[in-house]
Symmetry: C2
Subunit: 463 residues, 2 copies
């Protein structure tokens, strides 16, 4: 097999050396460590096609991988040592930028940051943005339907995609690239590959939507008495700004404290302490400052929705506001053990969910610190729980299952999702079985079996 | 079979009388006339489930139908008289409106107009809008992934859907209703049923997105020297207004002439004649008029993009502008024979496509009048051709195939779509076979066979 793979991609693109493979076999949270027969790095779609045809012929399992930044182990092979990691990193050309049609066609291995920069280079905007953007790849973003901070205005990776090129388990290439905004010619196969975590096909390229570049942004850090007020502020901002509302993130005081303790060169933007904060951002497409944001904040304070607020006065201050938000996971790591959940509930249920989940977790583990933060504008809360001060990290983390059971039971009560933006991978595969509509699960299995009858594509993930 | 169907839905909901069935057996353009064993009108999802289970058991073909306004014969049974029309019209309750979460859950048979009104009743906006909105149903809108005039800002029906409930061929119910903005728990089955024209399952209900209601609108009728200028105006408006640009429609002079000739109480909004017009609309979410629109038009005239422009001064004038656009198909019908195409090309290719297609058609049939109009903001042009003045309608229409071949060959050259928003149905089924990527077609067939192995769901449509 190794010889035949080398024939297809060249010997330099087949790694078997443990040191060379190491970076592909564990994931950023250190939850999964896999083994592999080899790591194959095709340089063209044709090579991907031939690699898959070969693996399908002999029944070898293939684990597609992009930037290896996924948080649920979807990109990590199992421990058998018989699986093949298919790295898409060398498929990294930007095939075309068409600013007139507002589209860009990129290969799977292009990093998200490069896509953003390429859009900017033609005075356009690609809004997908998340913490790992420097190393995650667009193929991984699409395979996991990545979210991030601008979903409230632009949708998830799925919504930014006009069409994909994907290689099926048997090596056939689905040529679905398209610059069209409207195309009602049958089942939307691109939407099927997006979010399928590499279990139905390997996305090798995509045509993405580009947007008008915002000319000015207003970024506000707003203090709130409770999460109910955050919801009121969100409703106000949405009614007032429509699609100009680009981000709406919530930060509890405990998260701000952790960031202030562990991050360098940051300080509380407000003089008093408050229980909750919202980080909100508005865009303008005119070459002028945004007066509306200041008016909106004044209205929020007058009507007793916000307790205090500050608008970023410079790009630098804007960056500081965002750093307060983006540093939260890192600050939690530095503070000790953290039990993480990536959940969503209907927008209106966010305050009740957070209040109830926090109470239950604090009852289960006295001293545990719920740190619910994130994308309130999408109903997507990272309900993370930091260990009690001074507790033993490992014994705290050993209770992950108990804590998650409480949180996910509540998610079910609110008809929410156990994975809002990170996907299922290995981490939530068994949980999916007990939470998803059984008929939907069965339809998923039917489709999987029809498209990948030998089960070579990312086995053990998702389903 | 009829007896068992009557047991499920009640005898009053099984029509067999030819007079009673007539309205379900032909479609609005009078291109297809079908026959049916009966028309079944279930009143609940459970009844739909039992009807399908029965039909699947005995292998009876089922043709789902909503408001019967589709334009490609997807909702019309074949002429055998053995198929069963499944009308969803009695599944017409609005199950829930949740303005706080910005969602609405409606059953398939609710008309689009009722959905719009229900949204407005809670101070929200549902942007899907098209000529048939008074009678088309949301189930049909989703099954055909309907487009309309606001796609440029809000996307097609697909993009407005958070989740669907659908009944499979064997009667099982996929419970995919969801108010969640983010949910990465497996394959997106809702996106599979949307646009599948009832061939994979019958959509019985959907949870839809609601949006902030625009507080003010600015509607402009703009005169242009050629389509290239229309594209320049579109680029200018998009860069300037971002998502506040709600519609961008183009109208050639020939279309305006036809409307002025055949519609009552309309007049040319401008004093001079011009080759092309754009009907554009901006929204504001503030309670104040939109100054930006006037500035934009002034800029367009100064920079020689627009020749003239008028902003609607009242809601009544706005309605008149829209009537000039919406009346075009009717005016074409009154003028005689019309050969119709619903195509899309990449945005930047619209001017070249229209110019080239018009030239080819005029060469093929001297005197034929191309009337290309519609959704330029989506690259979606209704490339309709009106018969030469005084020609015989039937002999003109007899050349439909020849004209379409030219038009669709050009669509292929520009990597466009032969069906931008109307779907495939019967009208374009054979054409699809020769224009779609063969691997994609094969994957579609594989999915169809896996989910509907007996082929009872809308056979002969799409695939």
């Amino acid at each position: 097999l190794l010889a035949r793979l080398s024939e297809i991609v060249g010997a330099r693109n087949v790694a078997v050396d443990p040191a060379e493979m190491a970076g592909y076999l564990q994931e950023p949270r250190d939850l999964y460590h896999g083994a592999a027969l080899c790591v194959v790095k095709p340089e063209s779609v044709d090579q991907v096609s031939r690699v898959l045809a070969l693996c399908n012929e002999i029944g070898a399992a293939v684990v597609p991988q992009g930037g290896n930044t996924g948080l649920v182990g979807g990109q990590t092979p199992d421990s058998s040592g018989s699986q093949i990691v298919l790295s898409l990193q060398k498929l990294n050309s930007i095939r075309e930028i068409d600013p007139a049609s507002d589209t860009m066609t990129v290969e799977a291995g292009v990093t998200l940051a490069r896509v953003q920069e390429a859009a900017e280079s033609v005075d356009r905007y690609f809004p997908l943005s998340l913490a790992a953007e420097g190393s995650c790849t667009i193929g991984g973003n699409l395979s996991t339907n990545a979210g991030g901070v601008h979903v409230v205005a632009y949708g998830s990776a799925r919504d930014l995609t006009l069409g994909v090129e994907a290689v099926l388990a048997d090596g056939r290439i689905v040529s679905g690239l398209s610059k069209l905004r409207k195309d009602n010619t049958g089942y939307d196969l691109s939407h099927l590959f997006v979010g399928a975590e590499g279990t139905l096909g390997v996305i090798t390229a995509a045509t993405l939507k580009l947007f008008a570049r915002p000319r000015a942004r207003a970024t506000a850090f707003v203090a709130l008495a409770d999460l109910g007020k955050a919801f009121d502020l969100f409703a106000l901002a949405k009614a007032d700004a429509g699609a100009a509302l680009q981000a709406f993130e919530i930060i509890p005081r405990v998260a701000l404290d952790l960031v202030l303790r562990h991050a360098s060169s940051v300080r509380d933007p407000l003089s008093n302490m408050h229980p909750w904060y919202a980080l909100i951002e508005f865009a303008s497409f005119k070459d002028e400052p945004l007066d509306g944001a200041a008016e909106l904040l004044a209205k929020a304070i007058q009507s007793d929705i916000a307790r205090d607020a500050v608008l970023a006065a410079s790009l630098q201050q804007r960056a500081v506001f965002w750093r307060l938000r983006e540093f939260i996971p890192e600050a939690q790591t530095r503070e000790g053990g953290s039990i993480k959940h990536d959940i969503s509930v209907p927008l209106a249920c966010v305050p009740a969910f957070v209040e109830e989940a926090s109470r239950l977790v604090e009852t289960l583990i006295p001293g545990a610190r719920p740190v619910p933060f994130g994308h309130m504008g999408d109903g997507n809360i990272h309900f993370n729980v930091t260990q009690p001060v001074g507790a033993d990290k490992q014994s705290f983390l050993a209770r992950w299952g108990e804590v998650s059971e409480i949180v996910h039971r509540l998610v079910k009560k609110y008809q929410g999702s156990i994975s809002a933006e990170h996907g299922i991978g290995q981490l939530k595969r068994d949980l999916l079985r007990t939470t998803k509509d059984p008929v939907s699960l069965d339809v998923m299995r039917t489709i999987k079996n029809a498209l990948d009858p030998k089960g070579i594509l990312n086995p053990g993930k998702l389903l």
